[in-house]
């Protein structure tokens, strides 16, 4: 077990190094990185001092080492727009993203798991059709469009809910439904097919033969075992979740990390952009690591 965890840890670090090399080569791919900072007020002295600060006269490997060691300490340079360290700009946005993400995650799980189980247990009935339609639409709808349609219907036409931005609890409803629905779709399909498979297995037949109640069979015996496949795919689900939150935050003007990333793109604020990507990749790799280790604990058959 320890060996597995260690191996998985090395793998996660290697992944982060690979991503950092990738990001670094992008900063150099466009030619002189100073061009990103250049504006009409830049003087020759500034230009030269930037070159020195970035160590541009040294070989690329050294430049990478300097850049990476700064990044590890959280120094991603200064935001070109706010003239503050990029990391502090990123830090401010974390709570908003976390809150929306949590709300959406709760919605996704609360809808996907029960509905997935019901459509498997009552296969071919109204429940099943409802569940599958819900999932099909969630997977086929562009998230940005869903968000805008919800705004048009519930905020503009019916005037029931605010259009977004942060505020009271009612401000969460539309963005959380948008992100939650898109994320629930894939989860629902996984739960449904996993429950279908488990219900067909020998130990369920044994439980039935023993006379265990149907409710207990479904929600205790079947569901517990059916949650393993969704757990395996939680890495992919989480990646989709990050994409979804970038889009949702953009649509609803939600002041989170995704919105910050998009604004950085529009303002050509490269240091902030790199900081956002690095931060989210770190979280992503951390989650993947945690899931793999947790998975190995839950299912002793898994050894890589």
């Amino acid at each position: 077990m320890a060996k597995f965890v260690l191996r998985r840890l090395v793998y996660a670090v290697a992944m982060l190094v690979a991503v950092s090399v990738f990001l670094f080569s992008l900063t150099r791919a466009a030619g002189d990185p100073r061009f990103l900072y250049l504006n009409e007020y830049t003087t020759k002295e500034q230009w030269d001092s930037w070159g020195k600060a970035m160590g541009l006269e040294k070989p690329l490997v050294v430049q990478y080492a300097v850049w990476a060691s700064k990044a590890v300490k959280g120094d991603f340079g200064r935001s070109l727009r706010d003239q503050r360290p990029a990391l502090s700009v990123v830090k401010e946005r974390i709570p908003a993203t976390l809150q929306l993400g949590t709300a959406a995650f709760i919605i996704a799980v609360m809808v996907a798991v029960p509905l997935g189980v019901m459509s498997a247990v009552k296969k071919g009935t109204g429940w099943d059709y409802f569940g599958r339609t819900f999932a099909l639409f969630g997977q086929a709808m562009p998230s940005f469009w869903l968000g805008l349609m919800l705004i048009i219907i519930f905020a503009v036409q019916l005037r029931l809910l605010p259009t977004g931005q942060r505020g009271g609890p009612d401000h969460f409803i539309l963005p959380a439904i948008t992100l939650g629905w898109i994320s629930a779709a894939g989860l629902l399909r996984l739960v449904r097919s996993a429950v279908l498979e488990v219900l067909d297995s020998e130990f369920i037949k044994l439980a039935r033969a023993k006379g265990v109640g149907e409710r207990e069979i479904i929600w205790k015996h079947a569901l517990k075992n059916a949650l393993i496949p969704p757990l395996t795919y939680s890495g992919i689900i989480f990646a989709a979740f990050i994409t979804g939150s970038v889009v949702t935050e953009t649509v609803f003007g939600w002041p989170g990390l995704g919105r910050l990333g998009i604004d950085a793109v529009n303002n050509n604020d490269f240091p902030v952009m790199v900081a956002v990507v690095s931060f989210l990749t770190l979280i992503y790799v951390g989650v993947a690591l945690f899931v793999d280790v947790a998975y190995a604990f839950v299912d002793p058959r898994i050894r890589y």
Binding site: M15, A18, V19, F22, L23, L26, T27, A29, A30, L136, F137, Q139, A140, M141, P142, S143, F144, W145, L148, M149, I151, I152, V156, S193, G235, I236, A239, I242, T243, V246, V247, T250, V251, G261, I262, V265, N266, N268, F270, M273, V274, V276, V277, L280, T281, Y284, V285, A288
Partner: protein, 313 residues
């Protein structure tokens, strides 16, 4: 003992022979019900939608009533024809720049399908080649290739796309390249798995003993065995690819304006959702229908031609 078996077996055999008589309802099913049963067996609606989409994309210039990129500001934000202020000149209304929405939605199908086609062709070819090589040679080659595949699965695509577009600039070529880089990986993984199974088959050993070269074996003996998987996987990926492209276009890092891409059109309507909902609603609806049709079709193809893929999706 033997007697008991025959006794138990006999009635069953009898029932099987009388099968045609046991289910008279099936045989008698005629007219509308037979037609409906047949209809449900085939993906009629998705195929019809996909064909409609292809026709729309190919014949856009003939079908579109107006120029998709020219409009007059006097005609801005006209509602669809069925509402009170609408005109029959613009069936779906016009956008904030006075461009005909129907024409733009029609032309938008070209962008979506073209991007999906180019990306999946390149991605499938690249991924299949790598998968074959990786599975066939195994060892270090396999290890390196598969870790690289893992790597591309692990990066949050949308964020990388944003950075790349800032650095390299916004163009159709960059978007296609980005989508290719992130779409070949599932082909490589799947084809590698298939190759590992196929290479233990006797006919592959015989080909090797007969003196066939490695490229010959890969091309003539292994490729035909994985082609099915590749085609099914391609059809399954069309929908998500169209969605990803639309997300990039919506965020302003996809297809550059004024090209009528659906994602971009939804983004055009964002500032007018309180006054002109149609500018947002129709292009997004087009994406939804397109992706639904391709997803249905992909699921159907998978269930009928490669059910094993179900576990990996």
């Amino acid at each position: 003992m033997a007697e008991r078996i025959t006794k138990r077996a006999l009635p069953r055999a009898g029932a099987a022979q009388a099968g045609a008589v046991v289910y008279p309802a099936l045989a008698r099913r005629t007219g509308v019900r037979k037609w409906w049963a047949e209809f449900r067996r085939w993906p009629v609606v998705p195929v019809a939608l996909v064909v409609l989409l292809l026709v729309t994309a190919v014949f856009s210039p003939l079908l579109a009533p107006h120029d998709p990129t020219k409009g007059s500001l006097r005609d801005r934000n006209i509602p669809p024809a069925w509402s009170a202020e609408g005109t029959s000149k613009h069936l779906l209304g016009t956008d904030p720049l006075g461009r005909d929405l129907l024409s733009r939605v029609i032309y938008g199908s070209r962008i979506s399908l073209m991007v999906a086609m180019v990306v999946l062709t390149l991605g499938a070819i690249g991924g299949t080649t790598l998968g074959l090589i990786s599975g066939w040679f195994g060892g270090q080659v396999d290890e390196v290739a598969m870790r690289f595949v893992d790597f591309t699965f692990a990066i949050p695509f949308i964020l990388v796309a944003l950075v790349v577009v800032i650095v390299l600039g916004q163009s159709l070529a960059v978007i296609i390249a980005l989508l290719v880089v992130f779409s070949w990986n599932s082909f490589a993984r799947q084809v590698r798995g298939e190759t590992l199974k196929l290479k233990t088959e006797a006919y592959v050993d015989i080909a090797r003993i007969a003196g066939a070269s490695t490229p010959h074996i890969l091309w003539r003996h292994l490729l035909p065995g994985v082609v099915n998987t590749v085609l099914v996987l391609t059809s399954l990926k069309v929908g998500s690819l169209i969605l990803t492209e639309s997300v990039l276009s919506f965020l302003g890092v996809g297809v550059p304006p004024p090209t009528p891409a659906w994602g971009l059109m939804v983004s055009d309507g964002r500032d007018y959702i309180d006054t002109a909902w149609w500018v947002t609603a129709f292009p997004g609806g087009a994406i939804l229908l397109t992706v639904l049709a391709f997803n249905f079709l992909g699921d159907w193809l998978r269930d009928h031609f490669d059910p094993r893929l179900r576990q990996s999706m």
